[in-house]
Symmetry: C2
Subunit: 396 residues, 2 copies
């Protein structure tokens, strides 16, 4: 018999305010650090910083919510230090809603770098190594100094409590894509047991300041995904996260959402872990997805790619020689200097000259584009015009 | 007989508004892009960007004036491109006063890296090479792609006109420190002839939008410095710049200022090229120096050093382990988030984690500190309390 405590979240709320005929929904997600409209996008501040941007610049780009990674922070500077400094919100000067993940994804992607490659692009931390996975947890070496560390449900809950984000995530095993159904099933079952351990550990110190998400695993297998979705819905999690390595093809990924849709708890916010290209937003929202996260907008910015509404490939590469003398800004309709004032020629120059300001400008632009996308997606859900909006953003 | 044209600067003005008993002076320097109070500090935007900061962030740190380097911009993106994009102000979105240098310093420091080392700290551009110096000019290879380039007074004036900064500088030879008096004299004489060629070239296209500075050279030799100061004062330059490799010892450097002081044109702004530690400001202002420039505030920031008023060595190193759990901000009296809101512990973490935001925060802080210093220096000149202020900034 599984054991898990009963848990209430008096300071959290998720209200579905509109359901569209295509399955998409509008909502309001309330946390102790404010409410955000959904669907929404959670930007990645991996090591307690959105790379190249200050919190003010994130707000200027109309950001509602960010996340940080328990795995990176447990290694540097350590959860104890963040707690001593008043928690992650104060530490990084972000006063809005925030999420941390469990650390599991990064730990397991060491053992299966192809998993990270699938979800996030090549992402191997040099010097990382996963030493051992057992029922108890995962043992690994820190990428900074090689010291041996342990991550398991109890430790992850403790770390995430010390970090103090509003939304936190159960410890799970992120099952690789290229494994057998048998392995996937066993892994999913362990993630369920780890879910119950996460709930038990969470409940012991729960003071109402954090909301815990369960994670749906089960790989690319319909029966396993359904089983996992039912498990998460049956437990007192505040939210549902869809995780795992989601297949090699887009259709496979969206198929997984379809299988889970009717089994996810209908009154809880649903987060799609690590996914967030523009086309993914349009495809996933009709399956009831409420929040997304992905390093894409900020990562591609540092390689010179600016997201552009109406571009068939979602983005342009500012390193391309044709932008050398392009006097036009990235998107004058976005009301921030990064998008409105600098010419593409100037940003092209900054990249060619190796100037850090290039990263700042394009990162802020990409964040502003995604936030504009999410505002327009919410409006389109209300007006039942999502298909039309998709064509505006990604013409074929 | 030297030949040089008569030149007026109807859109420029320099008013000395107060002369203190110690020789320091207050003034107002007016350019087509606005007026600034002097003494003031010109921050280095070498490649058309203050490293890691946007123009808005420079303004937030109360910056009045910046510079950019003709040498770097002639190589990448090229002066023609900047002109085509509407000039440097528009290109980099800085609408305040701006200076460019002639490019000479960087070209000659290739042949004499010790010169750059003296003034700016180690600064060797890998792959650079000075091919030839003749009366005609200097031939060198671009550090980017090895193509052969020429810099001489006519070319420098043409480049600086295309860039379009308010204040521009004559082409000179930056004489190395470790050379004979004979070499220094010959070099200085060539710089004078280049000064006249600069004036002649400048005058041909002068449309009132730029003010030209002459450069005092002469190394560490009193008679040469005086000769050079007299030359610059005798020619229709808008401003006076004190250049060259200024000796190995601080006292030698300040001695040079003393020799020139009575010979510099009394009604023109005096710029001290490439010098700008906090102690230099206090030492140089009594010799009538009106503006400074140095990469120091922005460069040391990227290595983790934050300028601190009242610290005997002017700065602290945030990488030091003692800041790991320091909850205090850098300087709460500075009214910007970079100095007021983030803890030293957070900035320490960002450096340890290799996060670019560290550079942005400390760079903006250092710029704000220097701008505060200059405000306080101006107030102290007015109140005749400069010695007292120096003790507040740099206690012994």
């Amino acid at each position: 018999m599984p054991t898990y405590p009963n848990i209430k979240y008096p300071n959290f709320k998720f209200d579905v305010t509109h359901r569209a005929s295509n399955g998409a929904r509008l909502g309001t997600l309330t946390t102790p650090h404010g409410s955000i409209p959904t669907p929404n996008y959670i930007f990645c501040g991996t090591k307690a910083s959105i790379k190249t941007l200050s919190p003010m610049q994130m707000k200027e780009a109309k950001t509602d919510i960010i996340l940080s990674n328990a795995y990176h922070l447990m290694i540097q500077p350590g959860a104890e230090l963040v707690e001593k400094m008043g928690g992650l919100h104060k530490f990084m000067q972000w006063d809005g809603p925030m999420l941390t993940d469990s650390g599991g994804f990064q730990v397991f992607s060491m053992g299966n770098p192809s998993c990270a490659d699938e979800i996030k692009g090549t992402n191997r931390q040099k010097g990382n190594s996963l030493l051992k996975i057992t029922e108890q947890g995962a043992e690994f070496r820190a990428y900074t100094d090689g010291r041996k560390l342990m991550l398991n449900p109890e430790i992850s809950m403790d770390i995430q409590r010390k970090l103090g984000a509003d939304l936190i995530v159960q410890m799970d095993e992120c099952t690789p894509y290229q494994v057998t159904k048998d392995y996937t099933a066993k892994s999913m079952e362990m993630s369920m047991r780890w879910g119950d351990r996460s709930l038990t550990a969470f409940e012991k110190t729960h003071d109402g300041k954090q909301g815990l998400y369960g994670v749906v695993q089960g790989g690319i297998y319909e029966d396993l995904r359904k089983q996992s979705a039912e498990y998460v819905a049956s437990r007192p999690f505040f939210g549902t996260a869809i995780g795992g390595c989601l297949g090699g093809e887009d259709d496979e990924m969206y198929g997984i959402l379809e299988w889970c849709q009717s089994l996810n708890h209908p009154d809880r916010p649903i987060h799609f872990l690590g996914i967030g290209r523009i086309k993914d937003i349009f495809k996933a929202v009709p399956y009831g997805i409420d929040t997304f996260d992905c390093v894409m907008p900020t990562r591609i910015a540092r390689h010179g790619s600016a997201l552009i509404k109406g571009h068939p490939s979602e983005k342009i590469n500012l390193l391309n020689a044709k932008y050398r003398d392009d006097p036009e800004p990235l998107d004058p309709s976005l009301d921030i200097p990064a998008s409105r004032d600098y010419s593409k020629a100037y940003i092209h120059h900054l990249f060619k000259a190796g100037e850090a300001l290039a990263h700042q400008i394009v990162t802020q632009h990409n964040v502003a584009v995604i936030n504009k996308l999410m505002r327009e997606v919410r409006m389109a859900i209300k007006n039942d015009t999502l298909d039309q909006l998709e064509k505006e953003w990604i013409p074929t």
